[in-house]
Amino acid sequence: MSGVEQFIAGPWGGTIAIAAMTVATFLCRIAGALVMTRVTITPRIERGLRALPGSIILATILPILIDKGPTAFIGIAATIIVMAFTRKELAGLAAGLGTLTILRALGF
């Protein structure tokens, strides 16, 4: 066991982490096609999975925003507003990072 732990902690750790993510992701990618031949995906399960992307985003960014404070909130708000009007990721990203640049230049 300690041999395994040592190997993971060593220089190959990052590679193993990428391999672990690759396996997990590939299983997700093929699971639907494999399972389809046996079971049907019910509307309820589909609804749940459809809620997943937005759920991940909020679960990921809310704790970060709370940690980083109001400046981060304003930056994200600017991104969302510009994105809602232009529908261009680049414009949204530029608005968010631009707002953060200005706020930080002002010392916030």
């Binding site: 993971i8 982490a17 993510m21 992701t25 809620a51 994200i76 969302i80």
Partner: protein, 250 residues
Amino acid sequence: MSADIVDGKGADRQKAVMSAPSRSHFTLAGCRLGAKMALPVFPGYIVFAMAFGTAASQKGLPLTQAMGLSGFVYAGASQMVSLGMWQVSWTLSTLLTLMAVTAVVNARMILLGAALQPWLAKEPLWRSAINLFLVTEATWLIGTHYHQEGGRDVGVLFGLSVLLWIVWFVATVAGYFAGALVPAPERFGLDLVMPVFFGSMLVPLWKGAKPALPWLVAGAVALLVHAFVPGYLYLILGAVSGVIAGMLIE
């Protein structure tokens, strides 16, 4: 038939669709057509991959790891989320957590694979494995649109998927160098590239207040768990609560 959202002209595709027999097949012409159909999503891909590359270099990952993530994992949201959990020295528990979070984040791909299954059913296993390895929301959307119009050439899916994977990989490297070249990255908010980009992703996902209710549940649960439990359990519990809320809300 729905409006042609993938490209304006679509004359080539129309021809390919009409001449296509009703059974699934695979042609090189289809690959070329698929590559052409991928063009409209280039900008979104390039921006996302560059944002990831920049965030990866901010986080201090070596270029090889950023390339490995984009080349092998090839799932933007999970790549971004993983950066927040990335370690210099890994342990078995951080590794297993990373794997669990990745599986949860990418569980939505189960739907994509399930929807593609009828089209890919008669394909040789190795080609289906490659096609599914390269599945993303964008390739699924373009491919499904083509399939719904009566197209059955799996080469189309293959061609567009391979091209977009290359774009993703190259843009990651470009973003990595762009991020590494900027002095004092916090001055430009680059430490917040990931949350800012995720924020922008909420906009196209928005389909009204009711479908967004599970997101709120997910966010609230994540905040709560984050406040009381160290580590990254908040990500898993938050996302899973969102899924459960989505299943419960009619």
